[in-house]
């Protein structure tokens, strides 16, 4: 690897890094353009602006305006059909200067090499994910989220792979690989393998989910460590949000990962040159690819960087959960099909089943209307809420969502008011049959797209769906059903996630975190097109309401 061996380059890199230690972020666009041009790249900029649906209190932004700067290294004798991307976010206030410096250093070194077969795009994106979204939409000329961006001038063909670099501190002791992307999509496993192989070769400590690999698989503590790592991945994947700038690439079928430099206060320190060598190695490997990465897995869970659980192992677990629903449905079907052992004549039977259609349809429609309200109202009524209540916009959105959610619990009451007659025994059976099949299909589809989300929902909803009838003790069952509802699942998940990260929180902090998670979820949907919020609001929650309705069947 030439990067380390050439003292001149090394000095240039160090100079650049020291220059960058002065806070430059807040995007010095002109300086970046000039610096990239001096390194022999084709430089272009892209302006974008976006007004968020409501202020993002975590990142303190509402009206976002920014400029992405990217330089294209044209591969010699390549026809501009393929490209690789190396990106580094540059956010105001945040210190990702090291990453930007390393990116520029690498650009200079890469430019002098003859062996590139794919164009390499060095991207410095403003306002992290929003900038990345603008750039990707501009590159592929799509507009899925209603963002304003200026069209891109230069392109490098179809992007084959991308890496995003985040070095948050000056001292880096280990490199962390982040894989989870938008809607729980994952890059090809070979990208993770590539990272691991080069970390091993160069001798860099590498982690996943911030956890080092342990060798004592046999021991209980080693096993639980691996489980912990895997559960972290499950939780992150289930959230459906991009956990790094790479997350948005996956929609475009571009294999991407984020590499984070972490300071975990260890003895052994990794300098920028070593990280540069790591990236150089990875890019040369990606450059040599004669095909898109596809030979390996796209569906996996990782208990450590060198081990993975493939879809063939984890899917049966979900399948066993889902089969409960199907068996229950079969049971109900059989019960409905066999003529009731009564002495009544056939006319009574027909009379019994005819209100059944209406009694099934009404709760279905009402619960879905409630779901639609949960999806629409928080954003629509934020201004009104801010006028009438002493809350901020963000709080208004979250609290409206919670209020609508809670109001949905009064659904059985409303349903019964609409229905003229009494609910029949036959009626709730039909409703439950429908609800069970609905849930089975819903969870099945969710698990195919985002296994973790489907699995977590199945864990809580399947028991509720299986046991609920109008004949169980009302108060206790109602309490259990509420505990197992999607909102409470989210609350528990927040605490569980904090526990897994070894950062337990008090209940009050947890509650605040919970509120911010809801607002982030809604924002993710409107900014990047994450599907978790609409899925929960429009499908899962109405489905749960059906079971709630069955419990209060009269």
């Amino acid at each position: 690897m030439g990067l380390l061996s050439d003292p001149n380059r090394r000095r240039a890199l160090i100079n650049l890094l020291t220059r960058l230690n002065a806070p430059i972020c807040g995007m010095p666009v002109e300086w970046l353009v000039k610096t990239m041009q001096a390194r022999g790249l084709e430089v272009y900029t892209q302006r974008f602006s976006r007004t968020l649906p409501f202020p993002d209190e975590n990142k303190e932004r509402y009206m976002v305006k920014g400029t992405n700067v990217y330089g294209i290294l044209r591969a010699p004798r390549a026809p501009r059909t393929e490209a690789l991307v190396l990106s580094a976010p540059c956010t105001p206030g945040d210190n990702n200067n090291q990453a930007v410096g390393l990116l520029l250093g690498l650009a200079q070194y890469f430019r002098n090499q003859i062996y590139w077969a794919k164009d390499i795009i060095f991207l410095v994106n403003d306002h992290d994910l929003i900038g990345m979204q603008a750039w990707l939409e501009g590159y592929h000329h799509t507009n899925t989220t209603g963002m304003d961006w200026s069209p891109l001038q230069g392109r490098g063909g179809s992007i084959q792979a991308a890496l995003s670099l985040e070095l948050s501190s000056d001292v880096v002791t280990s490199m962390d690989l982040v894989l989870e992307g938008l809607n729980g999509q994952l890059p090809n496993l070979d990208l993770a393998n590539l990272f691991y192989a080069f970390c091993q070769k160069i001798g860099v400590l590498c982690t996943i989910q911030g956890k080092l690999q342990r060798n004592d698989w046999d021991s209980v503590s080693g096993y639980s460590h691996a489980v912990q790592t895997m559960m972290l991945m499950v939780m992150k994947q289930a959230s459906g949000r991009p956990w790094g700038d790479h997350g948005l690439f996956l929609r475009y079928h571009i294999e991407a990962a984020t590499i984070k430099g972490i300071n975990s206060f260890r003895q052994y320190k990794t300098d920028a040159t070593t990280i540069g060598r790591l990236l150089e190695g990875m890019y040369r490997k990606l450059n040599n690819l004669l095909e898109r990465l596809h030979q390996s897995y796209f569906f996996y869970l990782m208990p450590s960087l060198s081990h993975f659980v493939s879809i063939g192992y984890y899917m049966p677990a979900f399948g066993l959960l889902a089969v409960i629903l199907l068996l229950r449905a079969l049971d109900l079907w059989v019960q409905l099909a066999t003529p009731p052992p009564t002495t009544e004549d056939g006319i009574a039977d027909i009379e019994q089943s005819s209100p059944g259609v209406l009694s099934v349809l009404t709760p279905l429609v009402i619960s879905h209307l409630t779901g639609a309200a949960l999806y629409m109202l928080p954003i629509r009524f934020q201004e009104m809420a801010v006028e009438h209540f002493p809350v901020s916009e963000t709080e208004a959105v979250v609290l409206t969502a919670i209020a609508v959610y809670t109001a949905g619990l009064a659904l059985p009451h409303n349903t019964h008011r609409l229905l003229s007659g009494e609910g029949t025994e036959q009626g709730w059976r039909v409703l439950k049959l429908v609800a069970l099949l609905y849930l089975a299909v819903l969870l099945g589809c969710t698990a195919l797209i985002n296994f973790s989300l489907g699995f977590i929902l199945a864990l809580t909803l399947v028991p509720a769906a299986a046991f609920v009838t109008p004949h169980v003790p009302k108060v206790l069952s109602a309490f259990v059903l509420v505990i197992l509802s999607p909102a409470c699942t989210l609350l528990f998940s927040v605490f569980f996630f904090q526990e897994l990260q070894e950062m337990p929180v008090s209940f009050l902090d947890g509650w605040l975190l919970y509120l911010s998670v809801i607002s982030q979820g809604i924002l993710d949907h409107f900014l990047y097109g994450s599907l978790v919020y609409p899925l929960i609001a429009l499908l899962v929650y109405p489905c749960w309401l059906l079971f709630w309705n069955i419990l209060f069947w009269k």
């Binding site: 022999g40 084709e42 044209r74 010699p76 004798r77 390549a78 026809p79 501009r80 059909t81 393929e82 430019r111 002098n112 090499q113 003859i114 592929h140 000329h141 799509t142 392109r155 063909g157 179809s158 929609r251 475009y252 079928h253 004669l290 095909e291 898109r292 596809h294 030979q295």
Partner: protein
């Protein structure tokens, strides 16, 4: 080898006719008299040759030389007999030249042109069998396949118009082949198929992959460049192979077509280890008929071999902006090709009139001006046929040393790019952007798009917009594709408004291929060839107010027709598209196999469970009864 051919034409002639005699005794009678005739022709035409070449350099080439240059060429013709051997004056002629253009990015562009002219007629029934400078392999191709014009290029890399300006000879990435056939050809498609296979052998390239699925007949974009007025596009075939990789194996056969091979002259510089250590490499062969004289009574054939290469400042320099022949090609020049009537090196010094940009050594006093691509350029000329060019060291190593990094290039007036928009594997959209950078003139362009059949274009979604407004093309020629037979062909004549971007978009659907049609597993994806934009672009000279100020007033009111516009062909980048591909891996096979097993197993199990078994009733059916009657009649026991 070349020297041998020169020195012993008689020996060759005997050998040639002897072998012909052996191979085809019956043809011997027809061949021999013609050869005698051709030898006899020599003295008559010899005197004309010198005059013609001087005139033709103005008439036929794209570049027109100024008066000084023509005089220069004429002066050089007088020196010619001294260089050439005192053999009977040939009726063919060979010229070689190298143009070096320092680019503003610090890169350097070198363009070789080798031109062989031969006054012969391959077509008029007579078999041409005596070849001197013209390569025999190509001559035979011309006569066998009745080729009127042949243009073939192999390019590795993409010409960066915005940084390098326009190339002297544009070519798309990969291989491009377009051929005009004589109108005597009856089955053009069969001839084309055979021709591509033959060329594939000659140039060691995968031209045999050209078939009906990537061949089109453009109606307007590719007109004959030589003489001839047949423009019926039924005799034209055009094909590109965007994924063709060009390497030394293509360079070697190309060099072998040169009269001096790579032994002498400018071709000495063509060493593959340096040529392929560059940013751009393109080699081409153009064959066309040209006029012999101003009256154009007879035609001669022109073979033009070109090689363009751009060397990268960053890759090969150690930060020093300095170029020399030795640094570029790892060779220096010591002699011209002895067979060449002219052998020159041109250095573009237009941006460097006082030597403030770069320094050129050794210096030369010979200057030349030419109109190149609508711009008046000045060149320093090094004549390799003059011994004093090589100086005392007997070798020429041109050196360009940059002094300042300043200076900006005039933006190319026409520029285009193309990309695929959208995501997912079902649909997509092809965007073609055409930039007109002219401040006040609009000009029309011809856009040619040839899209493979597996991208199903939705032609009703075709939109052409410039400056936010709909721009209606004045001419559209669209030929829909046929699955597995022919590609889409879309040709449009669009007017580009001044200082604007014109965007052409068309949506497509990705077809699902049959499983044998997928390329082998390691593949990048499916390529779509470059679209071709041909245009007459207003000249930059007309824009230049400085030059009109210097010129006499009476000459500058009406723009001169020839200077007012020039022909440019721009190629966009090829596209790489992914088609929905089934996963041909082990899990896929497992799934297929499991499904089959389950289907078979479940089917038979279901059959067993649901079928009700009954004992056949004793009363036989009608057929059986009839059968039994027949059996009884024949005396066989009944069923």
């Amino acid at each position: 080898m070349a020297a041998h051919r020169c020195c012993f034409p008689v020996w060759l002639f005997i050998l040639c006719s002897f072998s012909l005699f052996i191979i085809a005794g019956s043809q011997e009678t027809t061949v021999a008299p013609e050869q005698h005739a051709s030898v006899l022709d020599n003295p008559q035409t010899a005197a004309e040759t010198a005059e013609q070449t001087a005139g033709e350099s103005g008439g036929v080439e794209e570049r027109r030389w100024e008066g000084t240059e023509v005089r220069d060429a004429a002066a050089q013709k007088q020196a010619e007999p001294a260089v050439l051997q005192p053999t009977p004056q040939p009726k063919d002629d060979f010229q070689e030249e190298l143009v070096v253009r320092p680019l503003h990015s610090g890169d350097i562009y070198a363009s070789f042109q080798f031109r062989t002219l031969w006054e012969t007629d391959f077509m008029r029934g007579n078999k041409v069998s005596h070849y001197r400078l013209f390569p025999k392999s190509l001559g035979q191709v011309i006569s066998k396949f009745s080729v009127r014009e042949l243009h073939i290029s192999f390019t590795q890399g993409y010409w960066r118009t915005m940084q390098w300006g326009q190339p002297y000879l544009p070519s798309p990435p990969g291989a491009e082949l377009w051929v005009w056939f004589q109108d005597s050809v009856t089955d053009v498609d069969a001839t084309w198929k055979e021709l591509t296979n033959v060329l594939s052998g000659i140039f060691c390239a995968s031209l045999n992959f050209i078939d009906s699925t990537n061949t089109v007949q453009p109606s307007a974009s590719f007109k004959p460049l030589g003489i001839g007025n047949v423009t019926d596009h039924r005799f034209l075939r055009y094909a590109t192979l965007p994924r063709e990789i060009v390497c030394t194996e293509n360079l070697t056969p190309w060099k072998k077509l040169l009269p001096c091979g790579s032994k002498a002259g400018l071709a000495v510089l063509l060493k593959s280890e340096k040529l392929f250590h560059s940013s751009f490499h393109s080699q081409a062969v153009h064959i066309r008929p040209v006029c012999q004289d101003w009256q154009c009574k007879t035609t001669s054939w022109e073979l033009r071999q070109t090689l363009n290469v751009v060397f990268d400042l960053h890759n090969s320099g150690q930060g020093k902006r300095e170029w020399s022949l030795f640094k570029m090609f790892s060779r220096t020049l010591t002699e011209a090709c002895p067979l060449a009537s002219s052998s020159k090196i041109y250095i573009d010094i237009t941006d460097n009139p006082e030597g403030e940009q770069f320094e050129l050594s050794p210096a030369t006093s010979l200057l030349s001006q030419a109109m190149v691509l609508g711009d008046r350029r000045t060149f320093s000329v090094y004549d390799l046929t003059q011994q004093d060019t090589f100086g005392s060291v007997r070798s020429l190593n041109l050196l360009i040393r940059w002094k300042s990094t300043e200076g900006d290039m005039l933006r190319p007036l026409l520029h285009a790019e193309r990309y695929v928009a959208g995501y997912g594997l079902q649909t997509g959209e092809i965007h073609t952007l055409m930039y007109n950078h002219h401040p006040y003139r609009s000009f029309p362009v011809l856009l040619l798009d040839s899209v493979p059949w597996y991208l199903r274009l939705y032609i009703h979604t075709l939109t052409v917009t410039s400056k936010g407004k709909d721009n209606k093309p004045s001419y559209i020629h669209y030929q829909p594709s046929k699955d597995r037979v022919r590609p889409h062909l879309l040709e449009m004549l669009v007017q580009l408004p001044p200082n604007s971007v014109t965007e052409v978009t068309v949506q497509f659907e990705r077809a699902l291929l049959k499983w044998t049609e997928y390329t082998p597993d390691p593949n990048h994806g499916f390529y779509v060839g470059s679209s071709v934009i041909s245009s007459l672009v207003p000249s930059t000279v007309a824009m230049d107010t400085n030059s009109t100020r210097e010129r006499p007033l009476f000459s500058s009111f009406f723009p001169c027709k020839e200077e007012s516009s020039y022909f440019v062909r721009v190629y966009t980048e090829p596209l790489l598209v992914n088609l929905p591909t089934p996963d041909f891996s082990m899990p896929y096979n497992v799934i297929c196999l499991t499904c089959t097993v389950v289907a078979v197993g479940y089917g038979s199990l279901y059959n067993l469970l649901t079928r009700s078994f009954q004992i056949e009733e004793p009363s036989p059916g009608l057929a059986k009864r009839i059968a039994n009657v027949i059996r009884k009649m024949r005396g066989v026991p009944p069923l």
